[in-house]
Amino acid sequence: MTTATKPKGGKPITRLGDRIFSRSTFVAGAAILAVLAAVAIFLVAQSLPALLTDPANLKGEPSSFWAYVGPLVFGTLWSATIALVLALPVAIGIALFISHYAPRRLASILGYIIDLLAAVPSVVFGLWGIKVLAPAVQPLYTFLVDHFGWIPLFSGPVSGTGRTILTAAIVLAVMILPIITALSREVFLQTPKLHEEAALALGATRWEMITMAVLPFGRSGVISAAMLGLGRALGETMAVAMVLSPSTVVSFALVTSVNPNTIAANIALNFPEAFGVNINALIATGLVLFVITFIVNFIARWAVNRRKDFSGAN
């Protein structure tokens, strides 16, 4: 903490201005507590009717609310996982490129260019995904099914439109790329210079230096960056809602027309036309999403804090 310590001995003089000011900052902090509590309370309160009602009242007449939300949870996790698998290697590559390969002078500009991706609103990515990306990758999907259909992931029949979960995951991957890249880059740049120079002085190539000094140092940072990216991918709404062709199924197939939907996209698609207890059901799925992202973010923070304890950088 950077604050001045209280003067020792004797009670400090408290002035009215001081009291008002410190009280108001305290109230602001408490407001955050209240807001978060309100979010939780209102979500729970609005969810209860959906949990208590006869499942026959819900859309699609599932056997229970959990049967309704199950495929959505699967779709949410599955799409976010694919997105992470696609984005993580690329993000690490970019982070290394900017921190250790690109010329020093260019590094910040290149970083800024990648950050530009984060400036594109999700609805624009959705529009781009459906109008440009989906038609562009469809021939590739046909190729995959024709030649690699024996791999369950690429089993047919191929989607004729390219609006599959893989396309949605690609869009998600592009969207979480800047976050993972920015955080990983920061961590890589914090690698103690002495470690790097020591490795190079021993005759290591640049790659060997990276594997010996940079990556071990940055591992937990990269993990937390990946988790934060995963959290973002889990909650991303519009891009998935616009790109995906959704069904209520649990399926690992990547390039067919029948794809599991995600919680967030399901809410966005159905909310404007929902009424009665179905609104509560959608809010209840939102609560489930909240819990999932909370867990993921919690793991990320935990990784960061663990790193703080062990690294000498901070």
Binding site: P157, G162, R163, S245, P246, T248, N270, F275
Partner: protein, 363 residues
């Protein structure tokens, strides 16, 4: 000092931004130079079927131009939401792809004067086209049985014997069919499945519903989503309002012994010849569409969308507004506007006389 600079800069930016978007030029100005002789004023809130959406837009535009002091908001939230909101008093009128159910009729209508019943009548008729995109195929003949099998996933390739038998001249490829359906609840799906269920009950054993009953095929949000998916995909087929089909190829449907191309006239004709549901109030024109018609001038795959209002509103000013609006919508002028803007089929003369009589009773 610095913070003051900052605040000034921020304020300037905000002021410029607001000045740039001061007011919409198409909204101001017309109010003062009103050429309209209308004495109506107020706000009408409607909600309901999205199928009527673009027709409502056109009606509202024309109605607001004629009555400057009136604002009509129609939010295309879906038929079910529309009926619900109307019953609960959240909307002044509702648009719905299906007539009020008996349960709903028995409930209390908050916006209506105590003891009076609602009115409902068809206002928007639109043929549903089966659109497809297959390389080298421009025309396609289908019967209800084949159509049902394609969308239920029983037929999966374009050169299936059932399809080639109906289209001996077409060169259909050995390719997988991507059947696109609506992923959201919609009256289009309900009418489409109602047709399939009525005409081909063995191939389509699911009851008609707003939600598409099978998990096969590809889902797309809204009419535009279906059109987009069919247009951008390959070897695709889907169903959508005829007006939105655009440049896509449209399949002909087997009616009796001939294959009928969807037209507005065909849609209007089948509605005109269909019976009204019995046992309802005088102000309730709910139509039971004759799906299994064999008349080749009919196109039975058609969507009928209703307007629902009160016979007598508890607020009489509201009643006058609704009456004027409904009057315009069902007039020949209003129907023609919808036909141009949304490609709907205008009400036939018979039907529109019946509807006009109902609208005249609104208070």
């Amino acid at each position: 000092m610095k913070s003051r600079n900052l605040i000034a800069a921020g304020a300037l930016f905000g002021a410029v931004a607001l000045a740039l978007t001061g007011c919409a030029t198409n909204e101001t100005g017309t109010n003062d130079s009103s050429g309209s002789t209308s004495s109506l004023s107020g706000t009408l809130t409607g909600t309901g079927a999205s199928s009527q959406g673009s027709a409502q837009e056109a009606w509202i535009a024309a109605f607001q131009t004629a009555n400057n002091a009136v604002t009509v908001n129609y939010s295309p939230d879906g038929s079910g939401a529309g009926r619900k909101a109307f019953i609960a008093g959240g909307a002044d009128f509702a648009g719905s792809d299906s007539a009020l159910s008996d349960d709903e009729l028995a409930s209390t209508f908050t916006a209506c004067a105590a003891g009076t019943s609602p009115v409902e009548f068809p206002a928007y008729i639109s043929p549903i086209a089966v659109v497809f995109k297959v390389e080298g195929v421009t025309s396609l003949n289908l019967d209800a049985d084949t159509l049902a099998k394609i969308f239920s996933g029983a037929i999966t390739t374009w050169n299936d014997p059932a399809i080639t038998a109906l289209n001996p001249d077409a060169s259909l490829p050995d390719a997988t069919i991507t059947a696109v359906h609506r992923s959201d609840d919609s009256g289009t799906t309900k009418n489409f499945t109602d047709y399939l269920h009525t005409v081909a009950p063995t191939a389509w054993d699911q009851d008609p519903a707003d939600a598409f009953p099978f998990t096969t095929g590809e889902g797309a949000k809204g009419t535009s989503g279906v059109i987009d998916a069919v247009t951008n995909g390959t070897n695709t087929i889907g169903y959508a309002d005829l007006s939105k089909a655009g440049s896509l190829a449209v399949a002909s449907i087997k009616v009796g012994d001939s294959f009928v191309v969807p037209t507005a006239e065909g849609g209007a004709a089948v509605v005109n010849d269909s019976p009204v549901v019995e046992g309802r109030g005088a102000g309730d024109i709910a139509i039971k569409i004759n799906r299994s018609t064999t008349d080749s001038t009919h196109y039975p795959l058609v969507l009928v969308s209703y307007l629902i209002g009160c016979e007598q509103y508890s607020d009489s000013a509201k009643g006058a507004l609704v009456k004027a609006y409904f009057d315009y919508v069902t007039s020949a002028d209003g129907q023609a506007t919808a036909a141009t803007a949304a490609g709907s089929a205008p009400l036939s003369a018979d039907l529109s006389a019946k509807v006009a009589a109902v609208v005249a009773t609104i208070k």
